[in-house]
Point group: C2
Chain length 335, copies 2
C-alpha cells in the first residue's frame, strides 16, 4: 500500500510544530499514541532519532499520600530551572477515563497557560499492548518534542504500577504518616522500584516513625556494595518544604545513573520489554484473526486439525507461526 | 537435515510395542515427553492420528483429602470393567522430582504387576512449555498407546492446577471434612473447574456440613439452564464406599459431554491453548537466542538500536518476528 503523501507530510509538520513548542501539536501527537492510531507506527519511526534526551521521573504511592501535590511542586521546581516539563498521570485501575487523576490534572492547571508545560491523564483506549505501552510511547513523544523533564505519576504499587514505574529513569515512592500499614502492604514491590523514598506530610504525627521503618527496611535488604541505596527525603509538598533537597537528590541519582552505566542498562531493558511486548501482542492478535474461511481464525482451524488427529501440536504451532508472520506489518494481503 | 532412518524406525517400533501393551515401551515414550527430548516432535507427529479416544479424568484437591486413595479406588473400578488405565500424578509445586506424589505412586504399586495399568509421577525437566504442556503430551501418548481411561491427579487448586485440570474431560474436585476452611479458600477457582464434587472421608464428623456448604455454593452460582451442574458424591475411598455412585456419575458426565457438544468444545479449546503455548514458547526462546555476534541475542541487538534511536520499537518488533520465524523448526541455520 503506497503511503498517503498528504498524511505523511501532516505528521511531519505536526512533529515540527510540537518541537517548536506548540501545545496543540503535542496534544495531537499524544492522542495518536493513546488511540493506537493507524499513524502510530509512522509517528514512532519519525521520532526515533529525536528521543532519548529527557530525564524521566516516576512518582508512585498509595492514594492520599500527596502524589499530585508533589508532582505539581516538582513541576514548579524544574520550570524555575528553565526546563520544559511534561506530566503523564496514569491510573491503571481506571484505564478508560484516567478518572481519579482527572481532578488532579485540573488542579495542576495553574500551569495551564505555560506553553512549556504539558499535562495529560493517560487512558489506554484500545492501544496494542495496553496502558504501559501507551505511556512508554507518550514518554517518547514528549522526549522527541523537546521536553527535558517528564514526570510520570501513578497510583499504588501493584504489578501494573511497577510496569509503569519501570518506564522512568528515577522512581520516587511516596509514603505518608497515618496511612495505616501502607508500607507493610507495599513492601513486596516497593524496594524493587524505589530509587528515592519521599515521606510526604512530614509535619504530621508519626512521620519520624515512617522514616525509621523505611530505614530499617533498607538496612535489612541485601544491596550490592556498588548499588544505589534509596535515600529518604522528607517533604511537606503543599508548602514546598524539602523540595530543594529532593531535587538535589534526584540530580545525584541522575549522575549515578550515567556514571554507573545503569541508565544505559535500564533503557536497554526497557527497549527489550517494549519490543517483546509489541511482538507478542502482534502475534496474539494475528493468531486470533479470522482466516477468511467462514470466520474461523487460523488458530481455530489448526486446533481443529489437532483435535481430528491430522496434525500434531508442534507442527500446528509451526504453521501458526509461519502464517502469522507471513502477513507482514503493512497489513496487505488476506488469508 | 535428513531424518536418521534408524531413530525413526526405533520410534515406530517403540510406539508399536506400546500399543501392544509393553509397559517398558510406554514408560520410554512418556520419558521422551518429560525430558523434552529431541524426538518429542517426531513422536507427536507419529501418534497424532492415534489419539483422541481415551476418557481423561482429573482429580484435584488440597493435600490430605485422599486423592491418591480415590485415584487408586477409581483405577480398580475401571480395571474391573476391563479398561486399560493410565495414571499421571502431577505436583506443580515440586516440578523437579514430583516429590510429594512419589510415595503415592509406590502405594499404588498394588497394580504394579498389571500390564494394563501405567502409573507415573510427572516432572517437567526442561520441557518447553512447562509441566502442563508435558502432562498434556503424556496424556496423548497414553491415549495413543491404547489406554482407555487416563486419570490425572494434581494437588491443590492454584493457577497451575487449574491449567492441568483443564487437560481433563471430567474434573473431580475432592474435599473432606475437618480441613478447616479449605472450601472457602478454594472457592475462587473451584467452581470453574469442578464437573463433580467428591466429599471424601464421608464417615467423619462434619461431612454433611461440607455437603451443605457445597450445595449452597452451587445454588448461589449462575449456571445456564443448559449447563452441567456439578453433582456432589460422598465417598469413603479407603473402603470403596460410594465408588459405584461416583463411576455412574462420571459415566453420566461423559454422556453429557458427547451430547451437548461440550467435549468437542473443550478439546478444541485445549488444542488452541496448547498450540498457542508452544508457538509463544518457541518465539520467546528464539528471541533470547544468541545471534552469533559476540553472544548478543537478536532481541538485545534490536533493543540497542531502539535505545540509539536508529529504530522504532514497532519496526524492531517486526524485525524480531521476521528473524525468529525465518529459522524454522528443523533447527537448521544459525544467525
Amino acid at each position: 500500500v503506497p503511503e498517503t503523501p498528504g498524511r505523511g507530510r501532516d505528521l511531519q509538520s505536526l512533529i515540527e510544530r510540537a518541537r517548536q513548542g506548540d501545545p496543540r501539536a503535542v496534544a495531537r501527537l499524544v492522542s495518536l499514541v493513546e488511540d493506537g492510531s493507524g499513524q502510530l507506527r509512522e509517528l514512532m519511526t519519525a521520532i526515533a532519532p529525536l528521543a532519548g534526551k529527557a530525564r524521566v521521573i516516576g512518582l508512585t504511592g498509595a492514594p492520599g499520600v500527596g502524589k499530585s501535590t508533589l508532582t505539581s511542586a516538582l513541576l514548579g521546581a524544574f520550570r524555575a530551572d528553565g526546563s520544559r516539563v511534561g506530566v503523564l498521570a496514569v491510573d491503571p485501575s481506571s484505564p478508560f477515563t484516567g478518572g481519579a487523576l482527572l481532578g488532579d490534572r485540573v488542579r495542576m492547571q495553574g500551569h495551564a497557560t505555560d506553553r512549556d508545560v504539558f499535562i495529560r491523564s493517560m487512558a489506554s483506549r484500545g492501544h496494542l499492548g495496553g496502558l504501559a505501552a501507551a505511556t512508554g510511547q507518550a514518554v517518547r513523544v514528549l522526549d522527541a518534542a523537546g521536553f527535558e523533564v517528564i514526570l510520570i505519576e501513578t497510583v499504588g504499587v501493584g504489578q501494573a504500577e511497577v510496569e509503569i514505574a519501570s518506564l522512568a529513569d528515577s522512581t520516587l515512592v511516596l509514603v505518608a504518616p497515618g496511612m495505616g500499614d501502607a508500607i507493610q502492604a507495599a513492601k513486596a514491590g516497593i524496594l524493587e522500584i524505589a530509587d528515592l523514598f519521599v515521606v510526604n506530610k512530614a509535619d504530621r504525627d508519626g512521620a519520624q516513625q515512617v522514616v525509621r521503618d523505611l530505614r530499617n527496611m533498607i538496612a535489612l535488604s541485601d544491596y550490592d556494595a556498588a548499588a544505589w541505596k534509596p535515600p529518604i527525603v522528607t517533604t511537606v509538598a503543599v508548602r514546598d518544604e524539602g523540595l530543594e533537597e529532593l531535587v538535589s537528590r534526584l540530580a545525584r541519582h541522575a549522575a549515578w545513573l550515567h556514571e554507573s552505566g545503569e541508565l544505559e542498562r535500564r533503557r536497554l531493558a526497557r527497549a527489550r520489554d517494549e519490543v517483546t511486548a509489541i511482538a507478542l501482542a502482534v502475534l496474539r492478535r494475528r493468531m486470533g484473526e479470522p482466516d477468511g474461511l467462514a470466520g474461523q481464525s487460523r488458530l481455530g482451524l489448526l486446533a481443529q486439525r489437532v483435535v481430528d488427529g491430522e496434525l500434531d501440536p508442534f507442527s500446528a504451532a509451526d504453521e501458526l507461526l509461519t502464517t502469522v508472520t507471513r502477513n507482514s506489518s503493512a497489513g496487505t494481503g488476506s488469508g
